[in-house]
Symmetry: C2
Subunit: 447 residues, 2 copies
């Protein structure tokens, strides 16, 4: 048991509201601050990528007892549907039988989480801007603008769950010995949409994550409950095929006709949405430490914002909560130790999933279109099904297992080195599922 504390969570996003539920369950008094209006009362922004909830995310929801409520708004996707120009769509299973990732609308999930948090007794304070934090005293300062008079709010503990451009972290960054980096990707993104058929059914296979890989750019589509798909165009900001180059309606139309002829027909509002929805940037942020004494901790994107190509941003943030929760079981009221152990355990894993997510852009946008890559995945799946104790594919370890991200990265690199050799074997395209290949991999694993 823990002594009841007065706790502020800055940020009412997915991680902030779920953390608040966990803290309420332990009897703490929890205020959640957000600079934006209540997401339940405004139209959602048109700049979001659908979420892919996987094992780590579900686990955190289960331990809070709210997974069933969330499953009702989730659609399982058990495979990639790969759309290469002038070819039949190709389906690539994500895992073994029944393993799937779950498409959820970010807006819908966030609303639901805030409802559940309020039911649990969390107090939300919307449209309240946090400008500064006294780290050692756990005081947060709110006000209309950075220069207007501020109001001080005293707590025992403050969590910064305020996202990639966290104000809480911003304050920590100004203290000495705080390591920090932010790195923007040359690729940005824009939300688009494929509506449902007239009868409410989906225009594309409902249980797939659809990818149109085009080299240094791609288009993806994730299903929604109402028969629509939330789509994302990932495209360089600058250069030949880029957001900067798509300056008028004709250019956008031409671009989609050339590169995405099949989906072009499915998006009636393409032009309207393209110019209405903002072009967003993608950033990886890293920092250390994540905590200040026993008073302040960063969690989720504020500690480790990553690019979305592994579908693990939310899952990684939720896993932060799982770790914190287990440490609260072990260390009770010793928040100093809880926070130290928390950052020590999570930091290497956050760095690993950042690296894996960064790499996965090339996998999704380019490699998925390659016949060799598809064979490689087939060999891995075949070997793994024959020897599940010897080989868990990287994607499965990240998405369907409990293993740490750091371990997944290390094992994945080892496996990739072996698969590089396998793909060099003479005649591998002919006998990829032969005894020869099987014993070759087993020998390599022994090294």
């Amino acid at each position: 048991m823990q002594t009841s504390k007065k706790i502020a969570v800055v940020g009412s996003g997915l991680v902030g509201s779920l953390l608040a539920i966990y803290l309420r369950h332990r009897g703490h008094a929890v205020d959640v601050f957000d600079r934006r209006p209540d997401i339940r009362e405004v139209e959602f922004s048109g700049r979001s990528i659908n979420l892919a909830m996987s094992f780590r995310g579900w686990k955190t929801l289960e331990e809070a007892g709210i997974d069933e409520a969330i499953r009702k708004i989730a659609i399982p996707m058990n495979k990639r549907a790969i759309h290469v120009v002038d070819k039949e769509v190709y389906f690539q299973p994500y895992g073994r039988d029944g393993e799937a990732i779950y498409s959820i609308s970010r807006g819908l999930l966030n609303k639901k989480m805030i409802d559940l948090a309020e039911e649990a007794g969390v107090n939300f304070i919307f449209e309240s801007k946090v400008w500064d934090v006294s780290l050692s005293e756990a005081i947060i300062y709110t006000g209309d603008t950075e220069k207007s008079p501020w109001e001080a709010h005293k707590y025992d503990i403050v969590f910064g769950a305020d996202g990639a451009f966290s104000r809480v972290r911003h304050k920590m960054q100004r203290s000495s010995m705080f390591n920090y980096s932010q790195e923007f990707l040359e690729v940005g993104y824009k939300e688009l949409s494929i509506p449902a058929n007239a009868d409410g059914s989906h225009k594309l296979d409902k249980n797939s994550l659809h990818i149109w890989p085009r080299g240094n750019f791609m288009f993806i589509a994730l299903p929604n409950l109402d028969g629509s798909f939330t789509c994302t165009l990932f495209l360089p900001h600058e250069g030949d095929n880029s957001f900067a180059a798509l300056t008028d309606e004709d250019k956008v139309k031409d671009f989609f006709e050339v590169y995405f002829p099949t989906i072009n027909d499915e998006i009636p509002n393409l032009i309207r949405d393209f110019f209405k929805n903002p072009t967003s940037a993608l950033v990886t942020t890293k920092c250390y430490p994540w905590v200040h004494g026993n008073t302040v901790a960063l969690i989720g994107d504020s500690a480790h914002a990553i690019v979305p190509f592994y579908g693990q941003g939310m899952n990684a943030g939720f896993e932060d909560i799982t770790t914190l929760n287990h440490l609260m079981n072990v260390h009770g009221d010793d928040w100093g130790t809880i926070f130290q152990e928390y950052q020590k355990e999570r930091k290497p894993n956050a760095d690993a999933i950042a690296e894996l997510s960064y790499r996965n852009f090339m996998e999704m946008s380019s490699k998925t279109a390659s016949v060799d890559f598809q064979l490689r995945k087939k060999i891995e799946a075949w070997f793994s099904s024959k020897h599940p104790e010897l080989w868990l594919p990287l994607y499965s370890r990240v998405t369907f297992s409990n293993d740490s991200y750091a371990e997944a990265l290390a094992m994945g690199d080892m496996q990739a080195a072996i698969m590089d050799k396998v793909m060099q074997l003479e005649g591998i395209h002919m006998d990829w599922n032969s005894e020869r290949v099987e014993s070759f991999i087993i020998e390599e694993l022994k090294k």
Copy 2:
């Protein structure tokens, strides 16, 4: 020729005041802002490491016609003096005949540069804190505190020469697509001092940079004109031998007696200075872009703060000015192009010297004490003197040449790979300056 502009330089440090001189020479109206008092009117802080001016720094001073004035306050150091416990001091020449780096007191140099800038017509505004910058309009905002009323100052161009924790960069960092990192070293430093003998002479060889290498920490001493040495203890912040562990007089005395028995006698004010002078942190910062349109540019530490172990921080900042100056010659009033070319040319070089400086801590604090390392340096010097056209040692390329830092890093890595092989040659300690070794290196260079 350039049309006269109204230019603000934020920061009156070495790079800021030298840049101001260059800009005045071109006829611009230049205001230099600094949040601190005039360095000429206050006691200097006790937290500085003596500077080592080398080729790049001198070149920038020469092109401004002020090198002679500065040479008067500089002491040439043509070698390292390496003090290993229980051994005679060992001298390692830095370059070929006459090549030296120059010890200069940071405070003295900064005062001199401000004098020279004022003579050139630069206007200094001290104790004026810049809090914000309108990047596109080149307006800077000053005020007593971040929340007090601010005064706006409109310019044509603003240079941020305001150091590792630049406020100008801070504003750029809040715009999208700005990459930034700050990484603190586990090693910090403290300024100490060895006074002159009673007759004003130096207690140690005057023309050496003295190093007491002790593995993961070290002590260095650089000569001053008045017979004293400015010394720096580099030591981990935390751990067994660390600043955190040296909590009282006895512990400091013991530490110096064990690790620095010879210098211990030379520092009468050791204890006083140790507890009076602050322990400072060392940080590497990187960012990109360095410029905003044709209105704002970062220069020196604000664009690329590095750790001091190659003695290149100031030299790299001065080389930024050399590059800018050459680009002003070529592109005249086209400041947009000047700024674009400036950042494109300097960024890879800033990254390279950051990497080299980081690596050089281990070279100074640990490798200099090793017999193998000393032999390695001897072989390089010998081969280089026989074949100057084939081999310029890394240290010389960085310190005594015009070659870009990026080139130095690449060539240095290539040479290191060859020297690794040379040191593996059977009996290398016996015949290190033989024909066999000579032809081995020549063959390797051909690969």
